[in-house]
């Protein structure tokens, strides 16, 4: 019943555990599908058809709903995460891509790539709650755990906008590397990390100070960043690797082969595991954040991106 191999309840040598996460919600862009993978078995549990080239995903740990963006059909899809059914589809902006959700206030933040805005929606009803103009082609979006600030990686501005969520005003714009795409915020809400596609590096932002405080060279065409065990894990699309660096020293620890076109990356709640979607291999890979070994791999529908927080 309670395995002894690594102290995780329910874990055993045969089942290494999931990092306290039940499922991965993986957007398969080429297949117009959301693949829901059961992380205890590492097998696909359900596939939901979502038209419009779904890419962005936001779901909270144990969350009631999952939110998916389809940039081609300009839609937001709200999914009942337990029933695994579509609750609602709404037209949102002109190019919804990056998406983030904060359960503290039930607000969904959507980056509109073509309108250069962040659009705010109610997580239950999908009702429009406001919008804020940010930089050019906002891609990744992330909210601080306390819900007070939302940050957008403004790809074509080479900058990050820091927005006060109470006033919906941009309080700062921080210049980062070339074409920031994925952005992640740490559990303290004080540090943000952007994967910069054209400069092949990661920019580190001190959120309260509103400044760039570090840059780390990674692999070719980085996509996203996950944080676990005092380390950053960065997917390098063109290199097929994940760069791991130490958050304190910024030293590179390792470069791990992950698969072809590793993209969406997220860490489990207990930080034991990092999950990576490989767009070209059509796989979801599980990486042990401590040993840096790939411990499991499974097949997804065609073209998985999982752009956002995709672990429930």
């Amino acid at each position: 019943m309670f395995g002894a191999s690594n102290g995780v309840p329910g874990a055993s040598a045969e089942n290494p555990g999931t990092g306290d996460m039940r499922e991965a919600f993986v957007t398969s862009q080429l297949a117009d599908t959301l693949t829901i993978i059961d992380l205890t078995t590492m097998k696909s549990a359900a596939e939901i058809k979502i038209s419009g080239r779904p890419a962005g995903i936001a779901v909270a740990p144990g969350g009631k709903h999952a939110f998916v963006t389809s940039p081609e059909s300009k839609e937001l899809t709200i999914i009942d995460a337990t029933a695994r059914t579509v609750v609602k589809r709404l037209q949102v902006g002109r190019g919804p891509l990056g998406i983030a959700f904060n359960p503290t206030d039930n607000r969904v933040w959507i980056a509109d790539w073509y309108d250069h805005k962040l659009l705010v929606r109610d997580g239950g009803t999908g009702d429009a709650l406001g919008e804020v103009t940010v930089g050019k082609s906002p891609s990744g979006v992330a909210v601080t755990p306390d819900g007070r600030f939302v940050l957008s990686a403004d790809r074509d501005s080479d900058a990050v906008s820091i927005v006060d969520t109470a006033t919906l005003k941009v309080t700062a714009t921080v210049a980062v590397g070339g074409h920031p795409f994925g952005i992640s915020i740490d559990s303290t809400g004080t540090r943000a990390y952007t994967a910069n596609v054209t400069s092949n590096d990661v920019s580190i932002i001190d959120i309260p100070a509103k400044k760039l405080i570090g840059t780390v060279k990674v692999g070719a065409r980085p996509y996203g960043v996950a944080l676990a065990q005092g380390r950053a894990f960065v997917t390098n699309q063109a290199a097929g690797t994940v760069t791991v660096f130490d958050l304190a020293s910024l030293n590179i620890i390792a470069t791990i082969p992950a698969g072809s076109y590793p993209e969406g990356i997220a860490a489990s709640l207990d930080q034991r595991y990092v999950y990576i979607a490989c767009w070209d291999d059509n796989t979801l890979v599980r990486l042990d954040a401590n040993t840096l070994a790939v411990t499991a791999k499974t097949t997804t529908a065609e073209g998985p991106r999982a752009f956002g927080q995709f672990l429930r």
Binding site: Q29, L30, R53, A55, P71, E72, K74, R94, G95, L97, W113, Y114, H179, T198, N200, A220, A238, A239, Y261, W279, D280, E302, G303
Partner: protein, 177 residues
């Protein structure tokens, strides 16, 4: 007004696109062919980045020396007159693997942006299986593209280009003594 919009649309199609401009939806095309020749022989042609005139659409192929990822660049002039430039992304001769990505693309030649080509060669009992994988975006970087610059147009063009290229590669290598 309509005339100005039409003129603008035409101008837009003639401006070469930098590789960094593309939309949010990447497409994929995989074409494979089996060539009746050993891997080394096929690799010699495919890995010769400087000379891609084995592709029937290409009139002139000019590249820098070397195989440095992100640094070595090439200019391909097509028989129709259009130009596409690209850059090496990865080169691992031990695995018979080469990839390169477009930088500037004449949209009339190919309605794509950020087009990455990945060549993988594997031995098939003395013959060679060549896989040409293309990952690319449509040429129109905004939403609601006109039909000639849509995802469908990009997929159609890349599929034809890769198919034609592999067939010509096979014919050339198999004809050689």
């Amino acid at each position: 007004m309509v005339r100005y919009l039409a003129l603008f649309a035409v101008i837009l199609t003639l401006i070469p696109l930098p590789a960094t401009a593309h939309g949010p939806s990447r497409q994929k095309v995989i074409e494979t062919i089996e060539i009746n020749a050993p891997v080394e022989k096929v690799w010699m042609v495919v890995s010769n980045y400087k000379d891609m005139t084995w592709h029937p659409d290409i009139a002139k192929s000019e590249a820098m020396d070397g195989y440095e990822p992100e640094k070595t660049k090439r200019k391909l002039t097509f028989k129709t007159g259009g130009v596409i430039t690209d850059k090496i992304s990865a080169y691992t001769p031990d695995n018979k693997y080469l990839s390169f990505m477009t930088e500037e693309v004449d949209l009339k030649t190919m309605p794509v942006s950020g087009y990455s080509s990945y060549f993988t060669l594997t031995d098939a009992g003395g013959k060679t299986k060549v896989e040409w994988k293309g990952a690319f975006y449509r040429g129109y970087v905004n939403n609601d593209p006109p039909p000639e610059l849509s995802d469908a147009a990009a997929i159609k063009a890349v599929t034809a280009y890769q198919k034609k290229g592999l067939e010509a590669l096979k014919a050339k290598i198999e004809a050689a003594p």
